[in-house]
């Protein structure tokens, strides 16, 4: 690790001022990702601004029935919050399926959004990685790419976004709020992360001096059932091979509301719009589910190591919807 300057920001205005004054500075929330990156010498900020003292730790109800989540709410706190467990149980499931209790106790909402990929080549300083070192190449492409993405990837980068929480947020139509010296911005979560294209090092639409302050969720679709399902190599404490966040409402045998997002397969939390279009108003049957999954996955491109993810994603989408259908009719 290299030496750096450590600052502690007491309030939002100070945090925002500090970061715009120090090019190359980084905020630190729970530090569960940034500290690893510092220790591996993958990030070398000259200044680290600790934001854990900011008063952004509340989960509040909004007048429209939605909720507002402060950027410094810890993952474990959010997963256990009554407003979340009662209205957005899928969000709880997604958070609790990630990392470990110790990590979730540290991790913050804002940090979770901006956690970086777990691509092994990104983490291996001796490997070529366009994300870490633009223009150096991508060793994952000819290498071991079992963990890598099949949707939205490019010839320059196959890395996936690792967050579980974000997949649920994408399906729940979350909005991200930021502050900088230039004011406040509201960005739909599905637009926060970029696809890699030829610039995989540019991961989000945020400017370097923007502080995430909150996430807002609209009220959950009434009468719908939802679920987060994560498939991984071991029962716990592993990143997703494939995950699915699904919201489903069936009326008179056909799909009246559906929201579907995928994790583990793409460079960003992947809202499955093509599948949603195929499902809406379609009969709520296994065949429709399969057709919808296939509609989403026709765009998929695989490498030898990760071709199985396409089939696994298809099965996970269908299995999740099948379970939701059963749960919805039982209710």
């Amino acid at each position: 690790m290299r030496p750096f300057t450590y600052l502690r920001a007491p309030d939002v205005a100070t945090a925002v001022r500090a970061i715009s004054a120090e090019p190359g500075a980084k905020f630190i929330g729970g530090g569960t990702n940034l500290v690893d990156l510092l220790r591996e010498d993958i990030e070398q900020p000259g200044t680290v601004i600790d934001i854990t003292g900011l008063p952004l730790t509340g989960v509040e109800e909004l007048p429209d029935g939605g909720i507002r989540i402060g950027a410094l709410v810890r993952n474990s706190h959010l997963a256990a919050h009554r407003l979340v467990t009662t209205r957005y149980p899928m969000l709880s499931q997604a958070i609790l399926s990630g990392a470990s209790p110790q990590l979730r106790n540290m991790a913050t909402t804002g940090g979770n959004l901006l956690q970086r990929t777990r691509c092994l080549y990104f983490y291996d300083g001796a490997a070529a990685c366009n994300k870490r070192e633009p223009g150096s190449g991508c060793d994952a492409i000819g290498g071991f790419n079992r963990q890598h993405g099949v949707l939205g990837v490019s010839d320059d980068c196959l890395a996936t976004h690792p967050s579980d929480m974000c997949v649920a947020l994408a399906a729940l139509d979350a909005t991200v709020e930021t502050r900088s010296e230039h004011g406040v911005r509201r960005i739909p979560l599905v637009d926060l992360h970029r696809l890699p294209g030829t610039t995989p090092h540019r991961e989000t639409v945020l400017a370097a001096d923007e502080l995430i302050t909150a996430i807002e969720l609209p009220p959950p679709p009434s009468g719908a059932v939802s679920r987060y399902r994560k498939v991984r190599d071991r029962a716990s404490y592993a990143f997703a091979l494939v995950s699915v966040a699904a919201v489903l409402k069936v009326r008179d045998g056909s799909v009246s509301t559906v929201r579907l997002a995928l994790g583990g397969v793409a460079p960003k939390p992947w809202r499955a719009y093509a599948a949603e279009r195929a499902l809406l108003a379609a009969p709520a049957t296994e065949e429709s589910f399969t057709r919808a999954a296939e509609a989403e996955l026709t765009a998929a491109t695989a490498r030898p190591g990760n071709a199985f993810k396409i089939e696994l994603a298809r099965r996970t989408i269908v299995a999740t919807l099948r379970d939701l259908l059963a749960e919805g009719s039982a209710a």
Partner: protein, 733 residues
């Protein structure tokens, strides 16, 4: 009787309160910290190495490279010197992570920082990245110094017998490279006082490793004192002296201060060995009634360009079943990887995956129950030497474990058992491990406060040896276990057998038993010769140890405490010596440990991740010394191999040959949620043919056969035969 009882570990309190002192916890004034810089490439040379910025960084005391290092006096012998090339001897690079510089600074953080400032100019050559890339170059090592077993074994004419057999199975099986992944990264703290070297090292044997360090630095062995009281998990990787062990004393000489090297978590993966990946073929020929006629077991494993180290996967095969014609061979092939090392259970666990999977395939082909197939081929005597076994209760293990598991409920048809969306599979497999013994010494001191002290250099690696050996001494002297303390982990003490190769119970345990008996004899002699003793004049053979003292066997009333006896005679301690010498080559009996595993898996038919919900194992290990530590040890071994069966894979990048998952986030080992019910049965039979204590080893046999048992259960659940470990979900789609 303390032996056999379920007693909690004597050091448990210290471990849970943090009072236990591991090597990293040892503090010595003025210690400097060394960080080891590993090569970024896996093949080539260091053309240039610029250390100037690093040397000027805050706190830096020295940067040592191949250009400025002091010389080693000699290369100590392998295999316990892990690598046959001493670190930093030249500019050549044989594997990624190989140490190319040592940065010594006042603090570890300063050393880490300075290490990032070293600029290396590499001359790259194209590496042999994987076992697959090297497979066609496999060979039988000419120098077999690293293996304790022959590379080839033949009886009868296996090829002809195979060709003549009416039923055959011929398949290829693969096991992945595995990391020992102990929680404790290896640490070495070394300091010199003149030519005296004190070294605290994470080692599984101070007495095996001390001479290696002495040879490397050209000092007499008795000038080196090596300590290690507790190891935080080794599983074999601390049974060798890896390069860092030699770099710490070297750096200490250079900076003339104590130096600590604690390798990083990443370096645990690259710098302390691994179980090499294997590609094995098994060819079985059998009669229609399941009697094996021929067995050919061929294994190739990756080894480094430095050493020819075999993963002895087919070494046990000749000993397991009564097969008349058999051929077994072990070859290696060079890959740009570090040298592998013994990992629980060297050779046998990888080998059992192939052999016991093939047997399951044969049973399926014959339409025969897989357990019955094994019964029919039971080896009543050692098939290699023809000698009787010192003790073998394998058939009873089969019966008891099958019954506990409910094996008779199994419908042999694959895919026949379901529960909702879950496919259910039952599988089984056997295991065998040759019992090794080594000389071991211990003393037991009986003291005048009525307690006893064991002295032996044993290292506690977490298996419970401190506890079981205390129980042995306690029983030998008629004391409660709590009255026995243990001085251990110091090369100045009598030499224990190493704490690897399952030798603690049998070898060191026997030494402690002999020492306790010797101390008891001394006490009895003292008492019967002492006019003031109530036992005066008694026949020594009639006197026994009892509740902290001595008494007559037939007249419980007559006796006295050790305390009274020793105090009256003004003796502080009575020392008993124990020296266990194995019988060696011409022993009357063949010795091995045996086991059988039964596994229930459940696999969601849409999302096929294998879950092991139930596992029943039975072992024949002679006498069980402590029901609690034994059960714990066996469960640990089983869990470790469930990892190998389902997730563990230390995989190299297929182009560069670098290990690309050297972190516990990416190198998956089982977590608590992965583990179902594990039931362990011991079929006991005190085996005094093996040693005076009657106990054989457990630490390794418990980890043989699990992978095949799981794979066989997966086949039963799904009809799919997975012959390549680990069995991850993608292989079942």
């Amino acid at each position: 009787m303390a032996i056999g009882k379920a007693i909690s570990r004597v050091e448990a309190g210290d471990k849970v309160t943090g009072a236990a002192r591991y090597t990293e916890d040892v503090r010595v004034a003025e210690t400097a910290h060394a960080v080891l810089l590993g090569s970024a490439i896996s093949a080539g040379r260091v053309r240039g190495i610029d250390t100037r910025r690093a040397e000027r960084a805050p706190g830096v005391l020295a940067v040592i490279t191949h250009l400025n290092r002091p010389d080693f006096a000699a290369v100590p012998p392998t295999p316990y010197t892990a690598e046959g090339r001493m670190p930093l001897v030249d500019d050549r690079i044989h594997y990624a992570g190989q140490y190319i510089a040592v940065v010594v600074a006042e603090t570890r953080e300063q050393a880490e920082h300075a290490a990032t400032l070293v600029v290396v100019d590499y001359h790259r050559t194209s590496p042999v990245p994987t076992l697959d890339a090297a497979l066609s170059q496999a060979y039988i090592p000419r120098e077999n110094g690293l293996a304790r077993v022959p590379s080839e074994y033949r009886r009868g004419n296996a090829e002809a017998a195979l060709a003549a057999a009416p039923v055959r199975v011929e398949e290829e099986y693969r096991t992945a490279a595995l990391s020992h992944a102990p929680i404790e990264p290896s640490s070495t703290l070394a300091y010199w006082e003149g030519d005296r070297l004190t070294i605290y090292d994470s080692t599984q044997s101070v007495h095996m490793h001390r001479p290696l360090v002495a040879i490397a630095f050209g000092v007499p062995e008795d000038r080196v004192r090596m300590y290690c009281s507790l190891v935080g998990g080794g599983f074999g990787n601390k049974s060798y002296s890896w390069p860092h062990v030699f770099l710490a004393p070297m750096a200490a000489r250079v900076v003339r201060r104590p130096v600590r090297v604690t390798i990083s978590r990443k370096q645990v993966f690259t710098g302390t060995g691994h179980m090499a990946a294997t590609v094995q073929t098994v060819r079985l020929g059998a009669d229609q009634d399941g009697r094996l006629r021929a067995l050919i077991h061929d294994s190739v494993n990756q080894t480094s360009f430095i050493d020819d180290r075999q993963e002895t996967a087919s070494a046990i095969t000749p000993y397991v079943y009564a097969v008349p014609d058999l051929y077994a061979r072990i070859r290696v092939t060079k890959v740009n990887t570090g040298t592998g090392g013994a990992m629980r259970t060297p050779g046998d666990s990888a080998g059992a995956f192939a052999l016991e999977s093939a047997l399951d395939e044969l049973a399926h082909r014959l339409g025969m129950d897989p357990l019955e197939l094994r019964r029919r081929n039971h080896a009543d005597v050692d098939p290699v030497s023809g000698r009787p076994w010192s003790g073998k209760q394998l058939l009873a293990c089969y019966d008891q474990a099958a019954e506990r598991f409910g094996w008779d409920r199994r419908n042999p048809e694959p895919g026949s058992a379901r529960d909702g969306d879950d496919l259910i599979g039952y599988g089984m497999a056997g295991g065998q491990r040759t019992e090794h013994q080594r000389p071991a010494q211990a003393t037991v001191d009986l003291t005048d406060d009525g307690t006893a002290v064991i002295r032996s250099s044993m290292v506690e690696i977490g298996g419970g040896g401190l506890t079981t050996l205390s129980q042995i001494a306690a029983d030998g002297l008629g004391l409660p276990t709590a009255a026995v303390t243990f001085q251990h982990g110091d090369s100045a003490l009598p030499a224990a057998a190493p704490t690897f190769g399952s030798m603690t119970s049998g070898s060191t345990g026997s030494a402690v038993k002999l020492a306790a008996a010797d101390a008891l004899r001394a006490a009895i002699d003292l008492a019967v010769g002492d006019r003031r003793s109530p036992l005066h004049g008694a026949d020594p053979d009639d006197v026994v140890a009892h509740e902290g003292g001595l008494r007559l066997r037939d007249r419980p009333g007559d006796g006295e405490s050790y305390r009274a006896l020793l105090r009256r005679n003004r003796i502080n301690t009575l020392r008993g010596d124990g020296d266990f010498q194995p019988e060696g080559e011409d022993a009357e009996h063949a010795m091995a440990t045996f086991g059988v595993h039964f596994t229930e898996v459940r696999i969601n038919r849409y999302l096929p991740r294998v879950r092991v919900v139930r596992h029943v194992a039975a072992f024949s290990i002679g006498r069980v010394l402590n029901a609690k530590t034994a059960r714990n040890q066996a469960q640990g071994g089983i869990i470790m191999r469930l990892g190998a069966a389902l997730m563990e894979n230390q995989r190299p990048d297929p182009v560069s040959g670098r290990f690309i998952s050297p972190a516990l986030t990416d190198y998956h080992v089982p977590v608590n949620a992965d583990i179902g019910e594990i039931d362990v049965i011991f079929v006991e039979e005190p085996d005094t043919n093996a040693n005076p204590l009657g106990a054989r080893g457990l630490g390794e046999i418990c980890a043989v056969g699990i992978c095949a048992s799981v794979a066989n259960a997966v086949h039963h659940a799904t009809g799919k035969r997975v012959r390549s470990l680990p069995i991850t979900p993608d292989k079942l789609l």
